[in-house]
């Protein structure tokens, strides 16, 4: 089982997952923590990896899958190097985050949940980020953009990474 996974993930990533399983195997109730940390390492949790973790933790794969699919934090499909997160909270919604989403999808040429051909971006709608004062809000990678003008939403992709001190 591990062999198939090595094709998908690097040896280093797999070693990280193994260390996690080792550390938490006997800690009751630690499944969520293990999955959160595993996803930090592997970026997504496909079914075969879920099986691998289940076997390592000594719990049924159905249970792992149940947890993975329940929480929105987990992704079972690959993500881009930079994840574009469009806030779908109420304040953002009334300030037209829907349009922002549409424009960003068009700009990158992918649907929500897909990865761009170059592997750079994926785009998803996320729950309220709690920055309602700056609605609408989008996070690109690690960088947060607020007060976006829906008519010029594409600009944040161009600005991303080059938004220096003088912006």
């Amino acid at each position: 089982m591990r062999k198939d996974l090595v094709g998908q993930f690097s040896e280093e990533q797999m070693a990280g997952v193994d260390r996690l399983i080792e550390a938490y195997r006997n800690v009751p109730g630690s499944l969520l923590v293990v999955l959160e940390k595993a996803q930090d390492i592997t970026l997504y949790l496909p079914v075969n990896l879920q099986r691998y973790i289940a076997a390592g933790m000594g719990i049924p794969p159905s249970k792992v899958s149940g947890v993975v699919t329940f929480y929105s934090y987990f992704s079972t499909v690959p993500r881009g190097r930079k994840v574009i997160k469009v806030c779908s909270g109420t304040a953002c919604y009334v300030k037209r985050s829907g349009e922002v989403m549409e424009r960003l999808k068009r700009k990158i040429g992918i649907e929500a949940g897909e990865v761009s051909a170059d592997g750079e971006y994926s785009i998803e709608e996320v729950r309220c980020l709690g920055a309602c004062g700056l609605a609408p809000v989008v996070i690109v990678g690690e960088e947060t953009f607020g007060l976006i003008d829906p008519e010029h939403a594409e600009e944040i992709i161009e600005k991303n990474g080059q938004r220096g001190e003088r912006s």
Binding site: A131, G133, L134, T144, E165, R166, S167
Partner: protein
């Protein structure tokens, strides 16, 4: 930890602030909650830090504090100049922050066009002033 130690921590913090006040240290609070950061507070912070380093100003202290509550005016800073009421500034960027730095922080003349208000909210107080 006993009550004496608790009072000692409090006392030594207040003493330190009093010393700074006597030395004429100007404190600049950059309000860096999630909202502030999303609005560009990091740029404001690094602009101020850059000027302080460039001028080797030892009498200006930059602090990071949380959100001041008025998201629509982010990024915000508060300038505490000894002998002056604290001034809150809003809707800043790196360039405006530098202007405030020279005009108010170094020159002592508040930059009224970017100011929101002066004074502190109740029941906030500056512990060093007693």
């Amino acid at each position: 930890m006993t009550i004496d130690e608790l009072n000692e921590i409090k006392g030594s913090y207040i003493d330190q602030r009093k010393r700074e006040l006597e030395e004429g240290v100007v404190t600049v609070d950059v309000h860096m909650g999630t909202c502030g950061i999303a609005a560009g507070a990091r740029g404001v912070f690094s602009a101020l830090q850059g000027e302080i380093e460039r001028l080797e100003m030892k009498t200006v202290k930059l602090r990071v504090t949380g959100c001041a509550g008025l998201c629509s005016m982010e990024p915000m800073i508060t300038v505490h100049l000894p002998g002056q009421a604290p001034v809150k500034y809003g809707k800043l960027d790196a360039a405006k922050a530098r202007e405030i730095f020279y005009s108010h922080v170094l020159g002592g003349r508040p930059k009224t066009e970017y100011a929101i208000g002066q004074g502190l909210e109740k029941p906030q107080k500056r512990v060093e002033l007693g």
